[in-house]
Symmetry: C2
Subunit: 382 residues, 2 copies
């Protein structure tokens, strides 16, 4: 075996931004000191800046799913009627969480690879008594994107608060939290934020705080009102994840230095180039209609298990790419763009894909997919 570097090409965890990785080395700090209070305050301020909101933002020591649960347990009441968009594995998770807490979800499903049309949501919102809308900005399992703006604006005049799982949406698509009325927006550390898993965060609108006042669902670790009050003082309810917060502080500085518009455009360009490359290679997109920029899901060639491609990346090149989840497993593979990816990463990924396909007897002209990526680069770079 020759040298084979491990490369993470999955839609979370994503490749680590090296200065953020190294920042974890400074984690011999006590969390109830003024030094750490300064770190915590900076993280909260910078999260607000990159998320583009003046509303409350709280970090949480948990994975994204913990924050999803907190958005239910802190802001709703038992028996609340809510609309849930389900277009993949993460939409199904909203259904499970809302049901676990005794809410009454009206599930609007889309086939895997499709988005739930916004007008179906708008129609549902005209019915009385809907107290919330749950959706994924970007459904990581299929790569599809929802029309967050239309749904946010439609809910603004209703009693419903809009709860957006933007775990892979933040940093890959514009999300105007205040302008579009996105009451709760959830992110996760191991996505566009370029640090390891273990941290989530959530923004909360004034309208959501109103909901919170009447919430009757049990919660303890995830007490968002208390968390927001503490965050204002540079503190967390319980022991914070110091290493990850130090890391996030560094990553946020980098995101600010690039600017969120450029950061998002980076993912969008890589997604566009990936779509161009796989089309050039004769492969089909799984979500051709509303493709997001977090991840591109690609169908394996007819008659080939996508696991063969995933295994080829790993065994031949040390590259970790994602298979499909659930019933999509074996049918699709997913190439990530969110966070710390650049064009040279993609030149290599597509060259690898060409070699893997060729090794399986698929007719491939070497360099043809790479050339498609190069054209997108050249057009963007001028």
């Amino acid at each position: 075996m020759h040298i084979r570097k491990t490369r993470l090409l999955t839609p979370g965890p994503t490749p680590l931004y090296p200065p953020a990785l190294h920042a974890m080395m400074a984690a011999d700090i006590h969390h109830r000191t003024q030094d750490f209070v300064a770190v915590y305050k900076a993280v909260v301020a910078d999260l607000k800046e990159v998320m583009g909101t003046s509303w409350d933002v709280v970090p949480l020591a948990c994975s994204g799913t913990g924050a999803m649960e907190a958005s239910v347990s802190n802001f709703f009441r038992k028996g609340d009627r809510v609309v849930v968009l389900s277009a993949g594995k993460f939409g199904e998770r909203w259904v499970q969480i809302t049901q676990a807490y005794g809410l009454e979800p009206v599930v609007l499903s889309a086939e895997y690879g499709q988005a739930v049309p916004a007008d179906r949501v708008v129609e549902e919102l005209t019915k009385p008594g809907v107290r919330g809308v749950f959706l994924q900005a970007s459904e990581t399992s299929t790569g599809v994107m929802h029309d967050v703006e239309a749904i946010g604006r439609a809910a603004a005049d209703t009693e419903a608060i809009v709860v957006v799982d933007a775990i892979t949406g933040l940093g890959t698509m514009p999300l105007e939290i205040e302008g579009w009325g996105l009451d709760i927006v959830i992110g996760g550390s191991q996505k566009a934020f370029m640090i390891p898993p273990g941290l989530a965060f959530m923004s909360i609108s004034p309208k959501a705080w109103k909901h919170e006042e009447t919430s009757d669902l049990p919660h303890y670790y995830f007490s968002i009102r208390k968390e927001a009050a503490n965050a204002a003082k540079g503190q967390s309810n319980y022991t914070p994840s110091t290493a990850l917060l130090l890391s996030l502080a560094e990553a946020l500085r980098y995101m600010k230095s690039l600017g969120m518009d450029k950061f998002i455009e980076n993912a969008q360009l890589l997604a566009k180039a990936t779509r161009a490359a796989v089309s050039e290679l004769g492969l089909k997109l799984f979500a051709p209609d509303n493709p997001g920029a977090a991840v591109t899901a690609v169908r394996a060639p007819e008659g080939m298990d996508s696991g063969v491609i995933v295994k080829g990346f790993r065994d031949r090149f040390g590259a970790i790419i994602a298979n499909g989840q659930g019933s999509m497993k074996g049918k699709i593979f997913r190439i990530a763009h969110l966070g710390y990816f650049d064009f040279p990463d993609l030149f290599a990924v597509i060259a690898e894909l060409e070699l893997i396909l060729a090794s399986q007897g698929v007719p491939v002209e070497y360099g043809k997919g790479v050339a498609a990526v190069q054209r997108v680069y050249a057009e963007a770079a001028g």
Copy 2:
């Protein structure tokens, strides 16, 4: 500006092997403890194993040039007649060091891009009173390789010891230290060993130790006999570079796990693929006759300063590649293969090169050079 990862593509420093980088974090260790003695002994034993010799090997806290100086100041006498092969900037350094210590070098020069033919050295060795031969296994400034075996074998029956600057030769070409009679072989940490600069090492033959006994040149920090005696006890003469030795220990474990034959073949395959790619793009090699596998020097297209290409790599892609040195500056650029490089690195580098050339108006078919790399990969991987 979008995300642009910094990538080191120079023939030293080379990209760091991550576990070796992380091993430096354990450097809060005292160097005169049994814990560190164990590290030092392991490093010396593993260096011998990867260099393929049972002769003495000593690590030195200096750059490669320090070890080059030590090979002069410890093993020769004032006025010694020595043969120096000079085929580039590092050959010139041998001339300077031997002169600085009052040796009398007979300089056998080759034009930049050419090797010094072994038969010229052999002929010189037939003359009486030659006490040493100094050469580069691989001349990093031009990418050319010398016929180390022929020179080593020719000197075996003479009074001359063979001193090989293998700083970029180790890990990129076979070097049979004992079989070919390579009396002193010098390596450096920031080359194929995949760790930062700051450490050099040297193997010493019994014949070289005989020379050492009669050496009359001044030295203090570089006292190789004392260093070898201490190394046998897991100690260094003066304070060792603990962080780098911990790092080297980790890198050596990795090199052993791959096997030196595979490790060398890795660089050779990347060099072969690079030559194929640049030829495909219509560029000319600077050392077409005896190309080494440490680095490939490529001529800029007619009428273009190679600095434009170096700058293109840096500004467009954050990639650091080497310009020519001295009078070669502006004429060539150099792509490194030694150490922690793999094929995905090269897929990206060649795609970048194509885009840089195209941006300068050079007619380039995107993906054509990459395809040449892919063909070399596919042939090797089967």
